[in-house]
């Protein structure tokens, strides 16, 4: 976050995501760790690096921030961090003694369970959300969106006419 080269910060993000996956391995939830590596490290970071390459030169340094804003951000973040840490240390958690038992089969059967305690409805909602996001991406990223509203169409027509006129002028001149 503190580096000023955007490509370097993307690489640091990659390493920190791998570190979080390692933390999940250490917590013995290997399924979440695998999902983390596949989705974040394999998908999102690659997407971010692609967009960095598409939008600007990767080696270019970002402009420096104003010091007042940086100081305010540091103060706010440190105070929030201290407050949260105080809460964590003073509230003494009592960990349960039972073992955390999960299996992928359990997760799957509960995820598609329609009775109470099942997660079938959120699952369907999330899949609809993914579909909508995909369609939205394609619509946003279309190279030349069709001019649907009247104003844009008129502007486009005017532009075309002007170009046509200039072309005509050029041809007339060349003929002369």
């Amino acid at each position: 976050m503190t580096t000023r080269k955007i490509f370097r910060s993307a690489i640091w993000l990659l390493f920190s995501l791998i570190g979080i996956a390692a933390l999940y391995f250490w917590l013995q939830v290997e399924f979440i760790a695998a999902v983390q590596i596949v989705v974040y490290v394999g998908g999102i970071v690659v997407l971010v690096i692609f967009s960095i390459f598409l939008t600007e030169q990767a080696g270019k340094e970002m402009p420096k921030q104003s010091t007042g804003r940086t100081i305010a951000a540091v103060l706010a973040v440190l105070s929030g961090f201290g407050l949260t840490l105080m809460q964590i240390w003073t509230y003494n958690f009592q960990p349960a003694t039972k073992n955390f038992d999960w299996t992928v089969a359990k997760i799957g059967s509960q995820m598609l369970n329609t009775s109470s305690g099942g997660f079938a409805l959120p699952f369907e909602v999330v899949s609809m959300l993914l579909l909508a996001a995909m369609v939205g991406c394609i619509v946003i990223a279309m190279k030349s969106p069709p001019a649907t509203n009247g104003k844009a169409k008129e502007e486009l027509l005017e532009k075309l006419n002007q170009e046509h006129k200039t072309e005509l002028g050029i041809t007339e001149i060349s003929e002369v």
């Binding site: 999102i44 940086t70 951000a73 949260t84």
Partner: protein, 99 residues
């Protein structure tokens, strides 16, 4: 358990710091990813240590990861489109829809 919560709190506030100071849209997107990851860590830790008989935290983590992926894809599509029209991805310069 408190140590892992310490790690996730640190991650959350590093992401907040990035979100506050950076004006570059891709960097802000990366900061949001950091924040979501710290929340995921919290969910897993609370599920493992406080409610080991249930699996709700794991489901929340899975759904958050899915939504984060969708959100990142949409955000990057918007950013690339904005760069095409404005030649810049600075949030200060994309203020014409503000008022």
């Amino acid at each position: 358990m408190s140590h892992i919560l310490f790690v996730s709190t640190a991650l959350f506030f590093i992401g907040m710091y990035g979100l506050f100071t950076r004006r570059n849209m891709i960097t802000m997107l990366m900061a949001i990813e950091l924040i979501l990851n710290s929340v995921n860590i919290n969910f897993v830790v609370f599920n493992k240590y406080l409610y080991p008989a249930k699996l709700d935290g794991i489901f929340f983590v899975i759904f958050i990861i899915t939504i984060a992926a969708a959100e990142a894809a949409v955000a990057i599509a918007i950013i690339i489109n904005l760069y095409r029209s404005h030649r810049s991805i600075d949030v200060e310069k994309a203020s014409e829809m503000k008022y």
